[in-house]
Subunit: 129 residues, 2 copies
């Protein structure tokens, strides 16, 4: 199947598929006699794996790491578990950071809500921030 059909099948653009090949997430594509990329069903499941991984918030570099292990003929289970564990820690850290930031901004917003614009000091641009 040609690249456009593959793209339609997995809901990506042809640009994205070529980009993944360029980045090494896909092996160099087979070519038809006319030079067009020719994809098999294997590529589709690989693309779908990439999409599922992205939904889990993994970066292309992390996904590539998993694919490389699979391509070496090794089951990537252990590595995947580690990557997911790291992703959990990253998410916890980000959520904690944003939650702390939310507290700060909520205080500033509360101040700005019930404040007197007269007291706004040009010297420091804005007294709420």
């Amino acid at each position: 199947m040609r690249i456009g059909e593959a793209a339609d099948a997995v809901g990506m653009t042809t640009k994205t598929i070529r980009f993944y090949e360029d980045r090494g997430l896909l092996p160099p594509a087979e070519r038809s006699a006319n030079g067009y990329r020719d994809y098999s069903h294997d590529t589709l499941s690989r693309l779908e794996f990439i999409r599922r991984s992205q939904i889990a918030g993994l970066t292309l570099a992390q996904i590539q790491g998993i694919l490389r292990i699979r391509d070496d003929g090794i089951t990537p289970c252990t590595h995947v578990r580690d990557v997911l564990g790291k992703q959990l820690m990253d998410l916890d850290r980000k959520i904690a950071e944003l939650t702390a930031l939310r507290v700060t901004v909520a205080e500033q917003y509360a101040t700005a809500e019930g404040a007197d614009p007269q007291r706004c000091d040009a010297e420091q641009i804005c007294s709420y921030i």
Copy 2:
């Protein structure tokens, strides 16, 4: 004061200060006879305002919007309140997204933790994701 002293005073690099001038967050700097930028205390408080705003997670574009209003001689209080309100909503949305993602990843991690690598199917690359 020269740009290096200003940078030291507020804990930024000279590169960053020139970048802010280029982006319009600072007015074109006064120049000494030798062409060096010459900063007054006003610029320092402006730079400190930028820093405080960044700590609140505002983008340079949002900060610029506030500064522009102040530069027009208007107290930016109302605008600041709106920006902070939008920032609160953005934070809530991001926290909700990350929390939902965390649930998904935690499930995948739990599966990967107690799973049998024998059942790992090469067809779909990895059965946990």
